[in-house]
């Protein structure tokens, strides 16, 4: 897949994307280390290698645009204007920041769904509300290839297309849904072609190529913002790790997809930037140090926050006895 021939973003944007990608990678790893230490075992769904997709998208959104991440890369949500690294770390460590990443509707975050797929129709509702209230906001809804099979996604796309809503659906296609591979789930390889069935523009992109991903995201988001209606992007990537940490991965041959390591968006993008002359070896070292420092300070800050008693939240809202 080639990068679309669009104008290169400014140096400032290129470097911001790099810094965000680096922050996502290092931050998520740090959080995972803390969580493992606390529980004595690694757990959680990790997404290193897939971050370029949300990061590229989030760098095209405004504070009030709506956005739903795939659960595996929720941490990247800090890159949305209005949210901060502190919000992402607070959520990861069970603290309550001013703007909970998972649910701050005024910043376009309206929750995820434990039942994968369902959130798609809620974000369509947000898109409808944005149109009726003439806010001008766009909505980007990312979910995994597995979740994208579910019925609500179909209904979401039917309505979005029929009403020409300002919403972009993105499939973060890492080829697996838990232990079930793409081979068992699809009779197509390019999931973006599904868009044709709804009458939506659709595009496949290498989701591990930050530059391509950014340009495709920008093209679709600009188009959507200008009133062009919904579209579907399928961003190909690879789940480098297990479904959850500690999952023995009996469902796939050992080492399957290890060659994807060489498509890891972080070193790949770094190389691109150096070839473009935007980033030097010294810059890389400096940014690593800066990002590490920022993550560590923020973690300390978050750890000193009190753990909220969510029980009171629950009981306060009971309607007819407990």
């Amino acid at each position: 897949m080639e990068a679309p021939s669009l104008e290169l973003p400014s140096k400032e944007v290129l470097l911001k994307l790099y810094r965000d990608l680096l922050t996502a990678r290092r931050g998520e790893a740090e959080i995972f280390a803390i969580q493992s230490k606390a529980t004595g075992r690694g757990s959680g769904h990790r997404g290193p290698g897939e971050e370029a997709i949300p990061i590229a998208i989030l760098n095209n959104l405004t504070e009030t645009d709506c956005f739903h991440p795939n659960f595996r890369t929720y941490f990247c949500h800090f890159a949305k204007p209005g949210f901060t690294l502190k919000d992402a770390i607070a959520q990861s460590l069970g603290r309550r920041s001013e703007h909970p990443l998972i649910f701050t509707p005024e910043l376009g975050a309206m929750g995820s769904s434990g039942t994968l797929g369902e959130a798609s129709v809620r974000y369509v509702g947000a898109a409808v509300a944005n149109v009726i209230q003439k806010t001008g906001d766009v909505t980007v809804f990312i979910q995994g290839d597995g979740a994208s099979n579910r019925a609500p996604t179909h209904e979401a796309m039917v309505v979005a297309a029929a009403w020409q809503l300002p919403i972009i659906f993105v499939i973060q296609n890492n080829k697996y849904g838990m232990g079930t591979s793409w081979r068992k789930s699809y009779n197509i390889e390019d999931l973006s072609v599904r868009g044709a069935g709804y009458g939506m523009p659709h595009e496949r992109v290498d989701g591990n190529d930050m530059l391509a991903m950014y340009l495709v995201a920008k093209k679709h988001i600009d188009r959507c913002r200008a009133g062009g209606g919904p579209s579907l992007i399928c961003a190909d990537t690879w789940r480098l790790r297990a479904h959850y940490e500690g999952d023995a991965q009996i469902y796939r041959p050992k080492g399957e997809g290890q060659d994807w390591q060489k498509y890891d968006p972080l070193p790949r993008y770094e190389k691109q930037l150096r070839e473009l002359g935007v980033l030097s070896q010294e810059d890389v070292g400096r940014l690593e140090a800066e990002v590490t420092e920022e993550i560590n300070t923020t973690i300390k800050e978050v750890e000193s926050m009190t753990v909220p008693s969510s029980f009171e939240d629950f009981t306060a809202s009971a309607i007819d006895g407990l």
């Binding site: 509707p105 409808v128 209230q133 309505v159």
Partner: protein
């Protein structure tokens, strides 16, 4: 005061709330093109235009999701289901996301969403999926208020309150209310008409209404069965039995005080609902009475009973649900 039909009262409720608050919007299947089949949404498109009322494709899950998502983003939407049974296509959205407010590991605050749908009952379209009563399924969720009206006056005041509520309310409306009602001991076509005030009024959610006073037995019921109960009570009075009919109007919140007051007075309790008996709402009512007044149930003059739909799919067989006749015979066995 003008005497109006049930559907007209409901239509007035929708239109008054849409006039009052431009954030009130509604969507559902054929709510413009066929006025929601029974006329509930008549003239709304003409008055308010396409931003405020929308016909959707056939997409029950999207109707739920859109209602929730739009409520998060500042609107006060009403999601309309052509039939209550169809809402079960969207059980995830309605039960888990609206009813349990789940959005991840976090409980959001207000969700000013209303869900409206029609129970066709045992004839109507003639199958279970159109006809069934889903209220017990939804009553299991912590955050769903559930409104089940029976008269023109009530539906107007209750639906207006439902729309204004800052949290999820479901209105499951029985189609038989649209076309028939009790009159002088009979169920008659077009009898569900009532004088409804021209000036605005609201009926708070969670307040039962004693539709007929009596001294020998309390019949606790809601929705269209109120009409069967009232017709039965009328006839029972001719036979010397004085039955009190308590219309719950909302099953969540449940007006336990009103039920207990009535049962204390009459000393007998019959609960009537159209939904299937097993795990039906009657069991919940009984427990709530017992938790509220532990001595009341043991002191009853005869064992409490329930009349409910058979534990069978509701396929075009009116005798599968309580009728005026079965209510009368059950009361006579109890008194």
């Amino acid at each position: 005061m003008a005497e109006i039909r049930y559907i007209e009262a409901l239509n007035q409720a929708f239109r008054e709330e849409m006039r009052r608050d431009e954030k009130v919007v509604m969507w559902g299947e054929d709510i413009i093109s066929m006025n929601d089949v029974h006329g509930q949404t008549r003239d709304i498109y003409d008055e308010f235009g396409g931003d405020r009322i929308k016909d959707t494709p056939i997409c029950e899950q999207a109707i739920a999701g859109m209602t929730i998502g739009a409520a998060y983003r500042g609107l006060r939407p009403i999601g309309i289901y052509m039939n209550a049974g169809f809402s079960l296509c969207a059980f995830d959205g309605l039960f888990l996301k609206l009813g349990c407010k789940s959005v991840g590991r976090y409980v959001p605050g207000d969700i000013p969403a209303t869900i409206y749908g029609v129970i066709a009952g045992p004839i109507g379209d003639g199958d279970n999926d159109h006809g069934m009563s889903p209220e017990s399924l939804y009553a299991h969720a912590p955050y769903l208020k559930i409104v089940m009206p029976s008269t023109p006056y009530d539906v107007k005041g209750l639906v207006k309150s439902a729309i204004r509520d800052d949290n999820p309310v479901m209105v499951w409306d029985h189609a038989w209310n649209f076309y028939q009602g009790h009159k002088d001991g009979k169920i008659e076509r077009m009898a569900n008409v009532q004088e409804v005030p021209e000036e605005e009024y609201l009926i708070p959610l969670g307040k039962a209404d004693v539709k007929r006073e009596g001294t020998d037995i309390t019949i606790v019921t809601y929705s269209f069965q109120v009409h069967n109960a009232l017709a039965a009570a009328y006839n029972l009075a001719e036979e010397g039995i004085s039955a009190e009919v308590v219309d719950l109007r909302t099953i969540v919140p449940l007006d336990v005080d009103a039920i207990v007051d009535s049962v204390k007075k009459t000393g007998r309790l019959l609960i009537v609902h159209e939904a299937m008996k097993r795990a039906g709402f009657a069991g919940e009512i009984l427990f709530r009475i017992s938790e509220h007044s532990p001595d009341l149930i043991p002191s009853l003059k005869s064992p409490f009973r329930r009349l409910a739909g058979w534990n069978l799919p509701l396929v075009n067989r009116p005798e599968l649900v309580p009728t005026m006749g079965t209510i009368m015979s059950t009361v006579k066995e109890m008194v």
